[in-house]
């Protein structure tokens, strides 16, 4: 996912949750497969927060990344995205950044070489919690 799309989604969700109150802090969790650049994400949040929106003035956004763990559906081998013997190349990581499911195009089980694996952790984006006052 692109950082801007994530920032837009987070800010829209924060606004919806504010409901007349002030959002102090929002904790966003992203899976490692999303390949989100934390600095680029923070820049994007600053860009998309409306300047005249008091509910989000001073809002702190924390981004936490969950490491990706994959489990082969064929041989049950569980492996970490960080420990792949043949990690994806730069272009392939870029494709995975935009559409993380494309990991299935570029990652294979280190034990049996199947691309049919389950992402047991480190996929997706969710808002863990929002603090308002």
């Amino acid at each position: 996912m692109h950082e801007l799309a994530l920032a837009e989604g987070v800010v829209a969700t924060a606004l919806k949750s504010a409901d007349g109150r002030t959002v102090r802090r929002i904790v966003v969790k992203v899976g490692q497969l999303q390949q989100i650049d934390a600095n680029a994400f923070r820049d994007c949040v600053e860009q998309v927060v409306p300047a005249d929106e008091p509910a989000l003035a001073g809002m702190c956004v924390d981004l936490e990344t969950e490491p990706a763990r994959l489990k082969c559906r064929v041989c049950d081998h569980e492996f970490a995205f960080d420990d792949l013997p043949q990690p994806p190349g730069e272009d392939e990581l870029e494709a995975i950044h935009f559409v993380p499911e494309l990991a299935h195009s570029y990652v294979s089980c280190p034990a049996c070489n199947s691309p049919d694996f389950e992402v047991v952790a480190g996929r997706g984006i969710w808002i863990d919690h929002i603090e308002v006052s």
Partner: protein, 254 residues
């Protein structure tokens, strides 16, 4: 809370109409219909996009002649323009590599593509739906509530039976259906202003009280024009589809 869902509506807010080309059965020409339809709308002066949602067998790029190059990045990703059509597909990322995705992955990849693609202002976004009534169809119905479904069928009983199930599902989901298009039609079924003879597809349209939008001829020559939308629109197939678009889609949006 999945923040991606908040973004999808914004990405499509400048798109006037969303036309999802479906049919339920594989091999009935949905990609040819959707890509040629998009090229026709563009040639008729409409800003048109084509989103190929077939992740496992994408080939819209082959019809439009779109390059297998990574999309330009500008606060999201920008569709490539091919044959006057703004085009997005999983092939923009994978090229010729396979994308072996299971159902849940298809759903998630669909959400990602809708969340990151900046279509901008379009008169039409045509969506090439994958075969089947699984995740992609259900997700498109859920995430694109404005989508109008254009249903493709052939006269084969095997296809008509599957298309009937598709119509039943779309009615259950309360989705608008523009009508039925008969593809790979026999010569007798092709004629200006409508079919010259009753066919299993005209009967299906009558059964579901839907417009029969027209027949597209089986045209072996179109294979030679793949990748050249202008040439494609000059074939008997392209002319029939262009007439169908002008009769049924363009006036309705004027």
């Amino acid at each position: 809370m999945d923040p991606r869902l908040e973004v999808i509506g914004r990405r499509l807010e400048e798109v006037s109409r969303i036309v999802a080309v479906t049919g339920g059965k594989g091999g009935i020409g949905k990609t040819m219909v959707s890509a040629t339809l998009a090229a026709s709308l563009a040639r008729n002066g409409r800003r048109c996009g084509l989103l190929d949602l077939d992740f496992t067998g994408p080939c819209g790029h082959l019809v439009l002649g779109a390059e297998a190059s990574f999309p330009e990045e500008d606060f999201g990703i920008l569709p490539q323009v091919a044959g006057g059509v703004h085009f997005m597909s999983v092939t923009c990322f994978t090229g010729e590599d396979p994308a072996p995705l299971r159902g849940g992955d298809v759903s998630s990849a669909l959400v990602e593509l809708l969340a990151i693609t900046r279509w901008g202002q379009l008169d039409y976004l045509v969506i090439d739906m994958p075969p089947g009534l699984g995740d992609a169809t259900l997700e498109a119905a859920r995430l694109l509530p404005r989508a109008e479904f254009l249903v493709v069928s052939t006269a084969s009983r095997l296809v008509v039976d599957t298309v009937r199930r598709t119509l039943k599902l779309l009615r259950r989901l309360e989705r608008p259906i523009l009508g039925l298009v008969e593809n790979m039609a026999a010569d007798a079924a092709v004629g200006p202003g409508g079919p010259a003879a009753d066919t299993p597809v005209t009967a299906l349209a009558a059964e579901w009280d839907l417009p029969y939008l027209g027949a597209l001829p089986r045209d072996a020559g179109i294979e030679d024009h793949l990748g050249r939308p202008e040439a494609l629109l000059g074939t008997a197939y392209g002319r029939a589809l262009d007439a169908l678009a002008r009769r049924h889609l363009i006036p309705a949006s004027a």
